[in-house]
């Protein structure tokens, strides 16, 4: 029988939290995703990085949740950054008009650099 379709692993790297996502975000896994990532976005100045290199599928509810979490981070003067997003998921992000509302990077280094650059411009 099919089981949970998403695995999540959180690692702290400096001030940032990197969430390693593997599998699918769909109706069966959306709550696990939200309950893991949302607390990371609630602090002051959150630095949340989502490793999407092993993420195979995200449904529309999942993309809506990503936008909500990203906005929560901005409200708390931080940012949510995604890297390694597969073209299949990027296509859906574009269709749903989210490409300018989510921060997408190619690599982890690019994602980490965003926070370093911001720290540099604010110090």
């Amino acid at each position: 029988m099919p089981g949970p379709s998403l695995s999540l692993d959180v690692k702290k790297v400096g001030a940032a939290s990197i969430v390693f996502l593997s599998g699918d975000i769909d109706a069966s896994s959306i709550r696990d995703f939200q309950s893991t990532v949302e607390p990371l976005c609630e602090c002051e100045g959150p630095q949340v990085i989502l490793d999407c290199t092993a993420l195979s599928y995200v449904n529309s509810t999942g993309l809506g949740a990503l936008f909500t979490l990203s906005r929560m981070c901005r409200t708390n003067r931080g940012k949510l950054v995604m890297y390694g997003v597969r073209p299949k998921i990027r296509n859906v992000i574009t269709v749903l008009g989210l490409e300018t509302l989510l921060v997408l990077c190619e690599t982890r280094e690019d994602a980490v650099a965003i926070f370093k650059n911001e720290a540099g411009t604010t110090s």
Binding site: P2, A27, S60, P87, N91, G97
Partner: protein
């Protein structure tokens, strides 16, 4: 890999629980590949069918316990790859549906109607009708012939 040909038909039923959506995606994408749809079109069919089944669980079967099964029938007819998603819940009122406008929809904190918008973007044609026995059928159609060429293709998409 097997080939899915004209007049081939596959039917299966899943319990009305979201943990079986993975199984739906796996079967539908396998059959879409067997019908020789290009990779990006297989992805679109996967998204559309998953969203259709999710809508059944979230809306047609809302406040119903236990939720009834969902039936799926995949067949090829007259050059079309057709997926029927059949539910036994509350019918959907298509006349009342207003497609979302992006990105305003997100900025206003709205979430409803996105799945159906995505389904229509992903498929060439959709037909919703009611069947005897209090069943609703959402027919999702992909024209195989128009998928073959590069015209209208989006950027290449890897398979799972």
């Amino acid at each position: 890999m097997t080939t899915m040909k004209e007049r081939d038909s596959v039917r299966f039923r899943i319990p009305g629980e979201s943990r079986f959506l993975f199984l739906v995606r796996t079967v539908v994408t396998s059959l879409a590949r067997a019908a020789h749809l290009p990779g990006d079109e297989v992805d679109k069919v996967e998204i559309a069918v998953d969203e259709a089944c999710t809508n059944v669980l979230d809306h047609a079967y809302r406040n119903v316990s236990p939720k009834p099964a969902i039936d799926l029938e995949i067949h090829i007819s007259e050059g079309q790859f057709i997926v029927d998603v059949i539910d036994y819940g509350k019918p959907f009122d298509f006349k009342a549906y207003v497609p979302p406008r992006f990105p305003d929809h997100w900025m206003e904190g709205q979430t409803r109607g996105v799945g159906l918008y995505l389904i229509r973007q992903c498929m060439d044609e959709t037909i919703y009708d009611q069947l005897p026995g209090n069943a609703n059928r959402f027919r999702l159609i992909k024209n195989i012939a128009t998928c073959a060429g590069p015209v209208g293709a989006v950027e290449p998409v890897e398979t799972r």
